[in-house]
């Protein structure tokens, strides 16, 4: 390999390792700095009745009697061996718990991100091109409406209309509870359960991309070379496609990659409204329950994926726009 390229990657690698190390420490420290104790989830309800000795036993069992720095070393050592540990609350291995939730989250949030980005970018580009037209203003209005609609609100309206009202779609869960289905029926069941949360999440996510696309296109449309292309009589559609859209791609790609990094963190509100068994809910409940191991595990995955997405974004820029050279 070319030594310059190699140096580039080695330098980048060291930087990201530093960021990762800092976040691992942060993910360990932050949960423990929150006020409140995980004791109730170590011991079960009626926790007030425990005497001092039983309390000490429980803390020792989970290594919480150790000084913080030693707990941290144990955590890092386990991490190095690929062990995420057990949930305080559920007594299950964290890898298994996240493993169960991740596919649902990837399905819901990932799919919605792809649809929302495609729709948002297309509509945003058109709006910018027809700047000031009825289409532009209309699109902008609808986008602002969905952007400012509370996710809960939107979900409830979809539930009220398509779920409870028309009775077309189920309103909670990712699958019909306790029914053994297979093949086509299984697929239909999952899709029906996915429909409303997916629609909600997509409606919420379209405006962000749309607005960014529209406004970054606008700044490009003012550039001289576009004016030149237009003046030279290049067909409008070609200008739009070849020049303007392409040049507005970088911010849109950045937003997409940013969101892609967060896919693994789920969508807490939508998952809660629709009782969808994703990572967002797991994380939210773990925060409230002070389930340190689950928090550490989930945050680690989110951290890694966000950083990975950022790295990917930086490597994409030169591909998307050759003029942006690597430095």
């Amino acid at each position: 390999m070319d030594s310059a390229v190699w140096r580039f990657f080695a330098g980048r690698g060291a930087q990201y390792l530093l960021v990762l190390a800092l976040t691992v420490a942060l993910n360990f420290a932050l949960p423990r700095m929150m006020p409140g104790s995980p004791l109730v989830f170590l011991a079960g309800e009626d926790v007030g009745f425990l005497d001092a000795e039983q309390r000490a036993q429980l803390y020792a069992l989970h290594g919480l009697d150790q000084p913080r720095w030693r707990q941290f070393l144990t955590y890092v050592a386990n991490l190095a061996r690929g062990e995420l540990g057990y949930s305080f609350q559920r007594g299950r291995p964290i890898a298994a718990m996240i493993g169960e939730r991740l596919p649902w989250t990837l399905l819901l949030v990932g799919l919605s991100l792809v649809i929302a980005t495609a729709l948002g970018a297309a509509l945003g580009a058109l709006a910018a091109w027809r700047r000031g037209s009825a289409f532009d203003l209309g699109t902008l209005g609808v986008a602002v409406f969905f952007e400012s609609a509370p996710p809960f609100w939107l979900g409830m309206i979809l539930i009220a209309v398509f779920g409870a009202g028309l009775g077309w779609l189920p309103i909670f869960g990712a699958a019909t509870a306790g029914q053994a289905l297979a093949g086509w029926a299984l697929l239909v069941d999952r899709a029906r359960h996915l429909a409303l949360p997916l629609a909600t999440l997509t409606l919420i996510n379209v405006p962000g991309t749309l607005l960014i696309t529209r406004y970054s296109m606008l700044s490009v449309l003012g550039e001289q070379y576009i004016a030149t292309a237009r003046a030279k009589g290049v067909r409008e559609q070609d200008v739009l496609r070849r020049h303007a859209t392409r040049n507005a791609l970088l911010p849109v790609a950045t937003v997409f990659m940013l969101n892609l990094g967060y896919v693994a963190s789920g969508a807490t509100v939508v998952e809660t409204v629709f009782s969808y068994p994703g990572v967002g809910r797991l994380l939210y409940e773990a925060v409230l329950n002070r389930d340190y191991p689950v928090l550490q595990g989930t945050f680690l995955i989110i951290t890694v994926s966000v950083i990975a997405a950022n790295i990917a974004a930086d490597m994409l820029y030169p591909l998307l726009d050759p003029r942006v050279r690597r430095r």
Binding site: D46, L61, G91, R92, R101
Partner: protein, 530 residues
């Protein structure tokens, strides 16, 4: 954007093809609000409904009836020695575990010893008094206690579920052990974390046939969605109590039935009795007088609740002392404040103590409970009217607990002024509850989070704990309520009624257990015949 909506609608239409659900009349769908672990005695999560569901799978020796009086369950006959310290129990002879093995006295002995060595906050303290357990034959056992106890029958006998020895023997970390083999009327057929549980009737149940063949428990996180699903017929009932504002509407709705009964869960204004200013009982009385609990019940609960008794005990409880009534009065509040020298000297609208400290307090409340936040808000405005400044601080549960009840350990003290707080229904049920709530020694007053001290209450509490005779227990509790009402270490705001809605066409044999609600074993199985 119009195109987007069209695309979405057509996508929805494709997915909306009707799929008939096989209507199994013998099945019931009851939504619950959260994960409940693997529903064994060490992994169930919440006191309600987790504990109630767990007791459909695992059973204790005795079980509370609809009036919360413990009755023999796995036990067929029992005798207690005159000194109250030796209990001889004979089990039903034909009880089987879900895997077909016989449940014997050996399992009982194993369980009582297991929970002693494997800490669980609910069970371990309950077996403290037991000195020895001996079995004779497969069905008989003798328990000896180190002292007579007022609560032994209720806890552990009617509380601690029996574990199968052949499965649990050698389990070192029970909180990571997810087996669910019990002896109860239902067995856990299927569970998906974060999604649902499926319970199936145990055909070999010794007490007879369970009333519902199959119970599905979908987890529905959001309350509004739960009630929407109930009204739309996607579920048949829910363990969630119906919100007051929905009662009228659900009573009118077709296909739904609403039952209502006393609720033993309390909502209280908790004082930090050790606070340098709030330690003055006159100030607490003035605050209590300023707080219009009657209006609170009308506004917040729309009348579906009972105004708090200053002696803590719910008026429907057999232990309630009716002579400790309390009627709030704003003018009385002002009078007490003036007489005690709390006067607004600097005319900023807030009174000061005689030595000049303003009556300014933080009022903590749990953010997750909107009725309590609103209650705190009402208290704030009412206190402002009499010249006391209360600042409402809402935080999530663990943050509030960290201030009100650090580490869930009263011995560790407290760091708050006032809090809108509450205790769940079982606290009302325990015969010794007032000792837990108000004893000044933190080893006994395990939930005395205000740091209340009164030697007379301590003495009565100790006497209560050592008394097994109901009539005498009642006399002591009467005395205690009187003493507490005079000191007002907490001001009980109200007890919210339990209101439950269900579809009677699916299951109509629900039993309302007093103060607790309809999610209990008696709704699914009759007590075993002797």
């Amino acid at each position: 954007m119009r195109a987007l909506v069209l695309v979405l609608i057509s996508a929805l239409l494709v997915l909306c093809a009707p799929v008939p659900s096989p209507g199994q009349a013998a099945s019931l769908r009851m939504a619950i609000g959260r994960d409940e672990g693997s529903l064994n005695p060490y992994t169930y999560q919440s006191g309600y409904p987790g504990w109630n569901l767990m007791t459909l799978i695992y059973e204790p020796l005795f079980a509370p009836d609809a009036d919360n009086i413990p009755r023999p369950w796995l036990v067929r006959r029992y005798t207690v020695s005159p000194d109250g310290r030796t209990w001889t129990l004979a089990l039903h002879p034909n009880i089987r575990w879900h895997d077909g093995r016989l449940l014997t006295a050996d399992d009982v002995k194993f369980t009582y010893e297991y929970v002693r060595s494997h800490t669980h906050s609910r069970w371990t303290p309950q077996v403290r008094l037991i000195e020895s357990i001996e079995t004779s034959g497969a069905t008989t056992l003798v328990m000896r206690l180190s002292a007579q106890s007022g609560g032994f029958l209720m806890q552990p006998l009617a509380d601690l579920p029996i574990l199968p020895r052949h499965i649990w023997e050698g389990v070192a970390e029970p909180r990571r052990f997810n087996d669910s083999t019990g002896s109860g009327p239902y067995r856990l057929a299927e569970m998906r974390d974060g999604q649902f549980y499926r319970l199936v009737a145990n055909d070999a149940y010794f007490g007879g046939k369970p009333k519902v063949r199959e119970i599905t428990l979908p987890i529905v996180r959001d309350a509004t969605v739960t009630f929407t699903a109930l009204r739309a017929g996607e579920i048949d009932t829910t363990s969630r109590a119906l919100s007051p504002e929905l009662v009228a509407e659900f009573e009118k709705a077709g296909g739904l039935k609403v039952v209502r009964g006393a609720g033993y869960a309390s909502t209280i204004l908790q004082f930090n009795v050790e606070h340098p200013i709030l330690k003055d009982v006159r100030l607490r009385q003035a605050i209590a007088n300023a707080v219009n609990t009657r209006l609170m019940v009308r506004l917040l609960l729309l009348g579906y609740g009972v105004v708090g008794s200053p002696g803590y005990i719910h008026p429907d409880s057999p232990f309630y002392n009716p002579s400790v009534a309390f009627a709030a009065s704003k003018s009385r509040a002002v009078q007490i404040l003036n007489e005690a020298g709390y006067i607004d000297r600097d005319r900023d609208g807030i009174r000061e103590t005689p030595d000049g400290r303003p009556l300014r307090f933080n009022l903590l409340t749990l953010a997750g409970n909107p009725i309590r936040v609103r209650g705190a808000d009402l208290i704030r405005t009412w206190l402002r009217d009499v010249g006391i400044d209360a600042r409402v601080v809402a935080q999530e549960d663990a943050s509030i607990i960290a201030q009100v009840w650090p580490d869930f350990d009263v011995c560790k003290g407290r760091n708050f002024d006032m809090a809108v707080f509450g205790w769940s229904a079982p606290v009302m049920n325990r015969a010794t509850n007032l000792r837990d709530l108000f004893h000044s020694d933190c080893r006994y007053g395990t939930i005395n989070i205000g740091g209340y001290k009164n030697s007379e209450v301590d003495r009565l509490g100790n006497e209560l704990a050592a008394t097994a005779e109901p009539a005498r227990q009642k006399r002591i509790l009467y005395e205690m309520q009187k003493a507490i009402a005079a000191d007002l270490p907490v001001h009980v705001l109200f007890y919210q009624d339990g209101i439950y809605a269900y579809r009677p066409e699916r299951h109509d044999a629900w039993v309302y257990q007093k103060g607790q609600g309809i999610v209990n074993k008696l709704s699914f199985v009759d007590p075993p015949r002797r």
